[in-house]
């Protein structure tokens, strides 16, 4: 199907447009509403998410039979893959907005900008999930990055937050600069910015001996630096613990889930569409490179998480480790592998956001992000404590929670491709990971709070939101529909 022209595309670009409109509306509303304590902007953002969701569904189903379609002359692509990620990202955004509502960290005066930026970052991520052109890829990446820098440093009077933003932007700028250099090499070799064509051109040129494999290797590695920075994979992960620790908790949650998801969307599309041909892989064995990166990532993430005392930082390392697990699926070049990543991302969304929500709640009530702060939680707030247990155990990948099913299909996919060592590394890592998750559980259940034994009470809304994360964490694994994600990947995996 021919790419649609710019004007034709606008209709199908409606989700993104809606996001921009609502971002602007939020700022305007913020100007209008005088009451600083008002939560109107937050609800407006939520409405924005809802409308965007409707638009995503609309655009998706209006192409139900006609298959994927390219918009804006091939700049972005509308397919089931991007729709999937859009829904996922919207869920994460909505959850973050709700967290932010409850978080007491944020400066009430800057709410308008805050929510507008959230919507803007979502917009950027939408583009990341659907770009098919080097230019679009770079622009979307930068959009997301720039807004993230600001959001990470949003606590203007917190040195930690500022430091986080500083490190984030320095790191991000270098990483994306490196990536851009890699992109320029790719562009130069292939003579086109279109991902789908790059693959074919590179294959031809390699076959003809007109370009050296080393050049392709350099280009791929440079690109990996950018993508790796986004998904926080070793050795491009070092920003994330500091940023996650310094940033406001809702933003940490958002970055660890949404940013990572969008990063994986980009990663899958880029590597599968751009370098997915067999000949290319013979010249540069990037899947193996990814396998090593994946093994390193989970190992480093888990090991470094072991001695952490700050729960946020601990979860940061945990999310690095999960990035490693997810990367395993990316190594495989199979629809099962991609399906496993998508499934795991869904599961990860719920369990990780849930865990961060508990962190928000505890930070509000106890004023601590440290493990000690969780002592005796089982008696002070049993429901929250149990919810946290479910999230953590699910993160550790223990049945019957969704995290197990996520790991299960990932490992199945990995083993199916014969990567036994990788699966074994992953599984042993999940044993290690249990240890630090259990430390939080231990603090909550096996230790006493000391003299302050006041019960912490939470509102019904809190529990309702908590259950939004708990219930899927328990039940996703038992529902058949979630195992069909490997079908989604068809649109990104080149026919072989």
């Amino acid at each position: 199907m021919q790419p649609l022209s710019n004007i034709e595309s606008l209709l199908y670009f409606s989700p993104e447009i809606l996001l921009v409109i609502f971002a602007a509306a939020v700022i305007i509303l913020d100007l209008v509403v005088k009451d600083r304590e008002s939560v109107a902007v937050a609800y407006l953002s939520l409405v924005g998410c809802l409308c965007t969701f409707a638009a995503v569904l609309f655009t998706h189903f209006s192409f139900g039979d006609e298959g994927p379609v390219s918009l804006f002359l091939g700049m972005i692509r509308l397919d089931v893959f991007s729709s999937f990620f859009k829904v996922l990202l919207l869920l994460a955004t909505a959850a973050t907005i709700l967290f932010s509502l409850r978080s007491e960290e944020l400066d009430a005066r800057l709410k308008g900008e805050y929510y507008a930026l959230l919507l803007a970052i979502t917009f950027g991520m939408f583009l990341m999930a659907s770009s098919t052109n080097l230019l679009m890829i770079f622009i979307s990446l930068e959009t997301v990055s720039l807004t993230s820098y600001i959001l990470a440093g949003f606590l203007t009077h917190s040195p930690r937050s500022s430091e986080a933003a500083f490190k984030y932007i320095t790191y991000g700028a270098v990483a994306s600069g490196t990536m851009l250099f890699g992109l320029s090499l790719l562009f130069g070799m292939a003579g086109t910015g279109d991902l789908a064509q790059i693959s074919g051109r590179l294959t031809e040129l390699l076959a003809a001996g007109e370009i050296a494999p080393l050049a392709v290797l350099i280009a791929i590695t440079f690109v990996l630096a950018g993508v790796g920075y986004k998904i926080a994979s070793v050795p491009f992960h070092m920003w994330s613990p500091d940023v996650y620790e310094g940033a406001p908790i809702p933003i940490t949650a958002f970055l660890s889930v949404a940013s990572k998801s969008a990063g994986f969307a980009l990663f899958i599309r880029f590597f599968y569409a751009g370098f997915g041909s067999t000949e290319l892989m013979q010249a540069v064995d990037w899947p193996f490179m990814l396998a090593i990166v994946s093994a390193l990532t989970m190992t480093v993430g888990n090991l470094a998480a072991l001695p952490q005392q700050n729960v946020k930082r601990l979860l940061a390392y945990s999310s690095i480790a999960h990035g490693g697990y997810l990367l395993m699926g990316g190594v495989l070049l199979t629809s099962q592998g991609v399906g496993a990543i998508l499934f795991y991302l869904v599961v990860y969304l719920f369990m990780n956001l849930g865990a961060f929500y508990v962190v928000v709640l505890i930070a509000n009530e106890v004023g601590s992000e440290m493990v000690e702060g969780y002592r005796g939680l089982s008696s002070r707030a049993p429901l929250v404590a149990w919810a946290m247990v479910i999230f953590l155990v699910s993160l550790a990948g223990i049945p019957p929670f969704a995290g197990f099913f996520g790991k299960w299909i990932l490992f199945t996919a990995v083993l199916e491709q014969g990567y036994y060592w990788l699966a074994l590394v992953g599984l042993l890592n999940s044993v290690v990971s249990l240890y630090y998750y259990a430390r939080i559980v231990k603090a909550m259940f096996f230790e006493d709070a000391g003299e302050e034994t006041t019960n912490v009470s939470f509102s019904t809304g809190t529990f309702a939101l908590l259950s939004v994360f708990v219930i899927p964490t328990i039940f996703i694994g038992f529902i058949n529909i979630f195992y069909t994600f490997s079908n989604i990947s068809v649109s990104v995996i080149p026919m072989q």
């Binding site: 790191y171 070793v234 050795p235 500091d242 064995d285 470094a304």
Partner: protein
Amino acid sequence: MIVPLISIILLCPLAAFAVFGLFSLANRRFPRQDYLSTVAMLAALVCSFLLLREVVPTPEPHTVNWISLGGVTFSMGFYLDSVTVIMLIVVTLVSSLVHIFSMGYMHGDPRYPRFFAYLSLFSFSMLFLVVSDNLLGIYIGWELVGLCSYLLIGFWFEKDSAANACKKAFLTTRVGDVGMFIGMMMLFTKFQTLSLYGEGGIFAQAAAQLSTADMVWLSIAGVLIFCGAIGKSAQMPLHTWLPDAMEGPTPVSALIHAATMVAAGVYLTARMFPILTETSSLVIAYVGGITAIIAATIAIVRFDIKRVLAYSTISQLGYMMLAIGAGSYVAGLFHLTTHAFFKALLFLGSGSVIHAFHAMHAHAHDDEHEHAHEHEHGDHDAPGHEHGEDSDSGHILGSEIPPDQDMRNMGGLRRKMPITFVTMLIATLSISGVPFIFSGFWSKDKILAGVLERAMEWNSVHHYLLFVMTLLAAGITAFYMFRLIFMTFFGEPRNQEMHEMAHESPLSMTVPLIVLAILSFPVVNTLWFNKDYVKPPPQPHLHAPQHAYLAPDSKTGGQSVALSLFGVSEAVAAEEEGGHDTHADDGHHGHGPAHTIAMVLSIIVAGSGIFLSWLFYHRRTLSAESVATTFRPIYNLFWHKYYFDEFYDGVLVALTVWKSRLFAQFDGSVVDGIVNGVGTVTRDILAAFVGIFDNRVVDGLVNRVAQVTWAIGGKVRRIQTGAIQTYLFVVLAGIVLLILIFRAL
């Protein structure tokens, strides 16, 4: 009729145990429990007598499937031959008598009901062992009697010595049992069954399948099974538990540790008779012979009346083992029954004596004591030096003799306790082998004759040596048994205070004594003289040096010489002859002289034993110590004429005592030391080592892995310096490394 009768025999004591056991657990008394238990035993006794008529020449086992697997079946069942019936009668009879005796002896004990429950359980287990047709059943009964022995030795468990003794008994016998179990495994693996009899039984299969090449294997299996008997029958080197087992109440010693349970080893060996090879036979015979001598010599220097009897029991059991090992199947079992009666009698008699002393204690202490054997030491005792010199120091456990068991406190009791005295004297005469009118003579003579016969027949040095051992043991037995009688019943009372309080026991205790005394005469053992009633099974695997096949012990014709000489029982003699004829074609000759020689020698030996004993312990009305100090030179010279006492004192006694002490020492320090040492080493060192190993190494390794993981975690996190430029350096380094690595690939 066989199955119902045996079922009744088994169920009577079992039911008694089941019902009364539950009550007694809570120290509650079921009304008339003691009488009911006794009645149950008597019922079993009656049924056992009824079974006498049911014995057929070639019995078949009556079995049910106990464990049925897909391919293998373990059956449980009864096998009733003449030996079984005789054993049944012995067990039920002694058990009944002990029940009755205990009613008097244990009266007033706080755990009186429990005692009877244990007795019932023991009787059941023992009977089960006896009637079982298969090794598994025997093993079950075997272990259960062990349990009962454990429970009853430790009946007064408040005493530390009793607590130690019961544990020791169980563990020591279990060592033997493991050997037996290994033997069972060997047989099972070979034959896929543990049944002994019947078509598919081990004996039939062994006879049909095994060739000479299997003899080594079969010998090993036989010896391993015999290991069970070594433990249970307290043979060398596992005999040390039995003297300690005397910590139990005396009726228990009589029933379990004299008459029945310890004899089960002999019974088992006899049951395994058909698969014994010449090697395993010889091992059995030597173990028995050595045990007989060692135990007898030890018995000489005991002062504790029960321990003398305990060593005597060990010695006599060794005797029986020797008999069976030497092929005298009938003689061994015959001695088993006669021994059961007279040894039970001896124990009960000693119990009666102890009870007499104990009763005084009870009166003196106004029943203050919780139970019979908790004694404050200095209370009624003769001065402590006697205990200080106690030659029983060989016993690690219970090295102090309770005063009411110390023969040095006794003496002259024959007038105070006439019934006890007379009955015990009968038993002593019987065990010493006083000719013709006591059963012990006949059975012992049969053993001697059998061993000598085999020696002559095979012209075997081994068997001549065994014969000498047998003879020697017989002599020593007579010596120490009479020493016991003399010290206890004759002479002047050594402890006047205790003596005055002593009295004859009540009827419930004297009646069993009288009954057992009657049983110590040969008339009641006529069954053993009937060649057709008890016949040795064939031994297809026993290959004599000269003879391909040999029916052992078929010739006891010497008996007839003795019988005709002394005219005891022509009828029996005639039957003997008949038996002789039926086996005449087995190629078995030259029995006459063997028997005559054996009998003469046996009488001489027994006589000299008794005589020496008399010289020592009866003639010498003065104590040995005062002889040395008070004899004047003339008196000494007078004595020198004879040179008998001097010889004894100076040489023989010194030698004997020294030898016995040596044995005692050997037994006490070496064997016991090894057993205890092994126990200590195992328990303290090895187990501690294993424990430490488990903690330090295995667990430590795991913890070390955890520590290392943690440490790596600490290192990894240190890379995260906090300085952004380090991070960026890592990025660049990472890129360069990745490129370099994959460039090389």
